[in-house]
Symmetry: C2
Subunit: 218 residues, 2 copies
DNA sequence: TAGATTGTTAATCGATTAACAATC
DNA sequence: TAGATTGTTAATCGATTAACAATC
C-alpha cells in the first residue's frame, strides 16, 4: 500500500533542510516562512513547500513554519528519532577517521565495532572501540544488532564482503569503496565515491578556465 | 559563446562512465555497445548515447564504442589529462586520511601542502608532506600554484577560511565541512557532506522497515 | 551486402515553478 | 478584519526514453 512515492530528488534535499533548520534553532529563530528560508538556502519557496507537503502540512497560513517543530518532524522523516548501531569494515585511514568522528553519535549513529584483516591493527582502540579481526565478524553479527555497515575497504574486496554482510543480515551499507555493489533490493546502499567527487570538481575547474579563455579573446 | 549548456545530471554521471570504462579496459575489453554498457551500469542505452553526444560522437555505427578511446576522451572531458596541485586545510582524522589516500595521485591530483592550527601537529609528515601552520598559508599560496583546496575543518571555521582562500586566488574548493560556502560564482565548490549521506541511508532504512511492517500485516 | 549500432529527433515522463484559493 | 503565507492545483520546463534514419 504505497502512498505516492517520494522522489529521490526530494530525499536528497531533506538533510539540507534539516541542517538549515538546526542552525536556525541554534540561533533561537522561532518561525520562518518558506520565502525567507528560500532566500537563505538559494532554492525557490515553491520547492520548499512542495517538498514538505510530500510528508504533510507542517506550516500554518499567515504564519509560516515553527522552526523547532519542523526540525523535529524532518528528523523523524529521516529516521533520526531512532538510534543506529554501526560497524566499520576496514580500519585504514578512512575507517579510522570515521570512527573518530564524534558528530555521528550526536545524531544517533553509534559505532559498535571496527573490523580489519590486518593483524597489526588487532586490539588497537579507537575512541573505546577496539579493532577486531574480520573473522570475528560473523559471531559479532550474531550477538549484536547492527543496523549499518560502513565499507572502507579496497574496491576489489568490497563486493565479496558486502555479500557476506547481506548474508549475515545487514540491511544498510554505507559504501566508500570505489565500486558499485549489486545487492538485493531490500538492502540499502549509500555510496560515497570520493574520487568521483574530485573528478566533478576538476571538470568544473576546467570548464571555468575555458570560459575565462574565451572571454579573454573578446 | 556558450555551446549548449551541459546539464548537471550529465556531469554527475560522467565519472561513473569513466570508472566502468576503466574496469573494462583493465579486463582487456576492446569495444562495447551502449546496450551492453547499459546492462552493466543499470541505466538505459539511450541515456548513455545522449550523455556522450553532449560532447561529441565517440562511437561508430554498427560497431559501438572503442573502450580505450572513449575512456581517454571522457578523461579529457573531466580534466584528468592535466595535473592538479591540492592542499588540505585541516589535518584532523579526515584530512590525514585524504593525505594518505594514494589513489588521487594516480588520477593526477597531487597533495602539495597540509595546514592546521594545532601546533602539536606542526612538522609531522604524511607521505612526505609535512603539516604546516595555517599562518604560513598565504606565503605558500604566493609561492606555489594551488588548484584545489580540500577543507576538512570544523563547520564554524570553514566559511572564513574559504573566504581567505578565495582572496588568495583559489578557484576550486573540495568542502568536507558540514556547511554551505557562499562564494563568488567563479569559485567552484564540491561538497562532501558525510552526515547528510548517512541521513539518507537512515531514511531509506526506515522506509524499508515500514514497507516490511506493512507487508507483514497482509 | 546484411546486420548492427550509432547519432539524433520526437514523444513521454517527471520535476520545478508559478499562481491562487484557502485560511490562519 | 486585513495581511500574510500556506497547501495545492495548473503551467512550464527539462530530463529521460523511445524510435528510427544514417551509416559503419
Amino acid at each position: 500500500m504505497h502512498e505516492k512515492e517520494i522522489s529521490l530528488a526530494v530525499i536528497q534535499r531533506l538533510p539540507r533542510y534539516y541542517r538549515y533548520l538546526g542552525e536556525l534553532l541554534e540561533n533561537d529563530v522561532v518561525r520562518i516562512s518558506s520565502k525567507e528560508l528560500s532566500e537563505r538556502m538559494k532554492v525557490t519557496a515553491s520547492q520548499i513547500r512542495q517538498d514538505l507537503n510530500n510528508f504533510g502540512g507542517f506550516g500554518q497560513q499567515g504564519y509560516g513554519y515553527n522552526v523547532e517543530y519542523l526540525y523535529t518532524e524532518i528528523g523523524k522523516i529521516l529516521g533520526l528519532d531512532k538510534c543506529y548501531n554501526l560497524i566499520i569494515i576496514g580500519a585504514g585511514n578512512l575507517g579510522q577517521a570515521l570512527a573518530n568522528y564524534t558528530d555521528f553519535e550526536r545524531r544517533g549513529f553509534y559505532i559498535r565495532g571496527i573490523f580489519d584483516v590486518n593483524p597489526r591493527l588487532e586490539g588497537i582502540s579507537i575512541r573505546g572501540t577496539e579493532i577486531r579481526m574480520i573473522d570475528e565478524l560473523e559471531d559479532f553479527m550474531k550477538n549484536n544488532t547492527v543496523h549499518i555497515a560502513a565499507l572502507t575497504i579496497p574496491k576489489l574486496k568490497a563486493p565479496a564482503i558486502a555479500k557476506d554482510l547481506v548474508r549475515m543480515g545487514i540491511k544498510a551499507i554505507w559504501n566508500f569503496a570505489p565500486t558499485d555493489l549489486n545487492l538485493p533490493g531490500d538492502v540499502m546502499v549509500e555510496n560515497v565515491h570520493l574520487a568521483e567527487s574530485l573528478m566533478r570538481l576538476s571538470y568544473n575547474l576546467k570548464a571555468l578556465e575555458e570560459n575565462n579563455d574565451e572571454s579573454d579573446k573578446n
